[in-house]
């Protein structure tokens, strides 16, 4: 779990400080732990390509419809 490095306990500190410590742990875990090796951290290129293909599909549909009605 992302918070294994936390050395503070809820009894010792206030809720706000605890949340901020959790934020530190999550952010540091994100860039060096399991998350950094996951698909989430990998290139977004496949999503960009898929988005462009969907847009191209919509654009073709638009042009064809304009051609049909005009």
């Amino acid at each position: 779990m992302a918070t294994k490095g936390a050395e503070v306990t809820p009894d010792m500190i206030g809720h706000e400080l605890q949340l901020n410590q959790d934020l530190v742990n999550q952010l540091n875990e994100m860039v060096q732990g399991e998350h950094a090796n996951s698909e989430c951290w990998a290139s977004s290129r496949p999503m960009l390509v898929e988005g462009l293909l969907w847009s191209a599909f919509g654009a073709i549909l638009w042009v064809v419809t304009i051609y049909i009605v005009s």
């Binding site: 992302a2 809820p10 999550q26 989430c40 977004s44 847009s55 638009w62 419809t65 009605v69």
Partner: protein, 502 residues
């Protein structure tokens, strides 16, 4: 000790899901293509889809209306999912946090206000649509007049009950609605197919295909302009999803589950299919409102049962909207310090007042919400170009939460360039198209209004960053600044670290 660590780990996961803590890959809840698609579909297929569908025949030909609406949704959702959804997917952060990279940590108040207006505003509209729908059902069953005060107590009762149920469900967090939407979404689609079947059975396919609204009610008789109007309906609808997609994609595990489910779930199934049925009903049955025509066509028992399901599905929509608004509103410091349950209750409290004012809400707020998509054309163009073309998909997540010395500080926490472009794009949009009067000008007939303004605002931001921000070394755009910092609570951070706080 192990139990204590596990309990703390669970509380972190809960805080991440109901707060602004980044959600890491192992904590995400959407693990399959279908689970995310059905959430998107359920969210999109609320009663408002019927309302929008009722307007499609007014573009001059319902077939053009549906075709244009689909085109607008497909292109619009593709752009919005990339601009809002992809950065939040990578970093697990809320869309408002990722938008700090281009608006600055104080400048994000601009998209934040748009997001809250969208999510909370539409929540109350759905509340009113659901409660008035229930009154319509009661009036249809009893043969009484729905416009009188006979069912007002029912309207208020349903609205108040709805608020309570939404609060209880939203308190449970996104895991609950992930499971529920897996049932509600498919069921809603089955119901819509059945409604479509009833229309075919009553009117026949040929009649449905050729029937149009009367000529004097049409917004235009120019087919190309009519198509552009319908495309714009779809695209401006998609623009409002900027405020939603990032909040949802931070809960998705796999990148192959982002684009397809968003476009198919939100655009094709939830919006386009439901709206098409409403468009056909508006012409042949005389009203888009299924609480009226379903009961008259399918009979009191089947019609009421069907409508009860459709109206119940609105609960899921409201839950997702209130959840997303609850996460984003924690950007305001005071809201991040109160309990999740109380925060949700505070957002729902105005709904109690609106429960007594549903007719006013639907007449006054609906026209204001026509401008909803306009707020996001500039924001979408800027965030898309910023993430993919200027930052090459690299943000520094710790700097999104920095207390001092943030890379995304710009001028006192505000990137005035992004704010100005957002304002100008709104003005430009309204020059091309007024969503209330349907007045159009310039290239609207072939391009609509959202698409050119998204492209122009993205282009303007790209040029402004290259010409102004890069020479001033602001915003962390230089390639040498493209590094990842460590987060710390220390007020004197070491080199390569930055002090962070929520």
């Amino acid at each position: 000790m192990i139990e204590s660590n596990q309990s703390h780990a669970n509380s972190i996961e809960q805080e991440a899901l109901s707060g602004r803590l980044p959600v890491l890959a192992s904590e995400r809840i959407y693990g399959s293509y279908g689970s995310f698609m059905w959430t998107c579909c359920t969210f999109s297929a609320a009663t408002w889809a019927f309302l929008i569908g009722g307007f499609l025949p007014y573009v001059g030909d319902w077939r053009l209306g549906v075709a244009g609406y689909v085109i607008g949704l497909v292109i619009g959702m593709a752009i919005v999912s990339l601009a809002s959804g992809v950065p939040s997917y990578k970093y697990g952060t809320d869309v408002i946090d990722t938008a700090k990279s281009c608006f600055g940590y104080r400048g994000i108040v601009v998209p934040l206000l748009g997001l809250l207006a969208t999510l909370i505003g539409w929540s109350y509209v759905v509340e009113a649509l659901t409660s008035r729908g229930a009154a319509n059902i009661a009036a249809s069953l009893t043969g009484s007049d729905v416009t009188g005060g006979a069912h007002e107590e029912l309207v208020i009762g349903v609205a108040l009950a709805l608020l309570l149920i939404v609060w209880l469900m939203a308190c449970k967090g996104p895991k609950l609605f992930e499971r529920l939407n897996g049932y509600i979404g498919p069921f809603h689609m089955v119901i819509t197919v059945m409604m479509f079947g009833i229309l075919i059975h009553k009117f026949g396919l040929h009649t449905l295909w050729v029937n149009q609204i009367s000529s004097d009610k049409m917004l235009t008789h120019d087919k190309t302009r009519g198509l552009a109007l319908a495309v714009e309906f779809g695209m401006s609808n998609a623009m409002t999803w900027w405020s939603v997609m990032g909040g949802l994609t931070r809960l998705v595990k796999r990148r192959s589950h982002i684009m397809g489910p968003s476009i198919i779930g939100v655009g094709l199934m939830g919006a386009a299919f439901v709206s098409s049925v409403a468009a056909l009903a508006a012409i042949s049955a005389g009203t888009y409102d299924p609480t009226v025509w379903m009961i008259s066509l399918a009979g009191p028992i089947l019609g009421s049962a069907t409508m009860a399901v459709v109206l119940t599905a609105n609960i899921a929509t409201m839950v997702v909207m209130i959840y997303l608004a609850g996460v984003s509103i924690q950007q305001v410091r005071i809201f991040s310090q109160i309990r999740w349950e109380l925060l949700l209750a505070l957002m729902l409290v105005p709904g109690i007042y609106f429960a007594f004012k549903t007719e006013w809400l639907l007449s006054a707020v609906m026209s204001w919400l026509s401008y909803n998509g306009v707020m996001f054309v500039g924001v979408t163009g800027i965030t898309f170009v910023d993430y993919f073309f200027l930052r090459k998909e690299h943000l520094d997540p710790a700097h999104l939460f920095a207390t001092t010395g943030s890379r995304y500080e710009f001028w006192g926490g505000v990137n005035w360039i992004a704010v100005a472009i957002t304002g100008i794009s709104t003005w430009g949009y309204l020059l091309l198209y007024n969503p209330v009067t349907s007045d159009t000008s310039g290239p609207f007939k072939y391009l609509g209004a959202s698409l050119p303004m998204v492209v122009l605002s993205g282009l303007a931001y790209f040029v402004a960053v290259k010409a102004i921000l890069l020479p001033l070394r602001m915003g962390g755009y230089a390639a040498s600044e493209r590094m990842i910092s460590r987060a710390t609570l220390s007020q004197k951070p070491e080199s390569g670290s930055v002090t962070v706080a929520l």
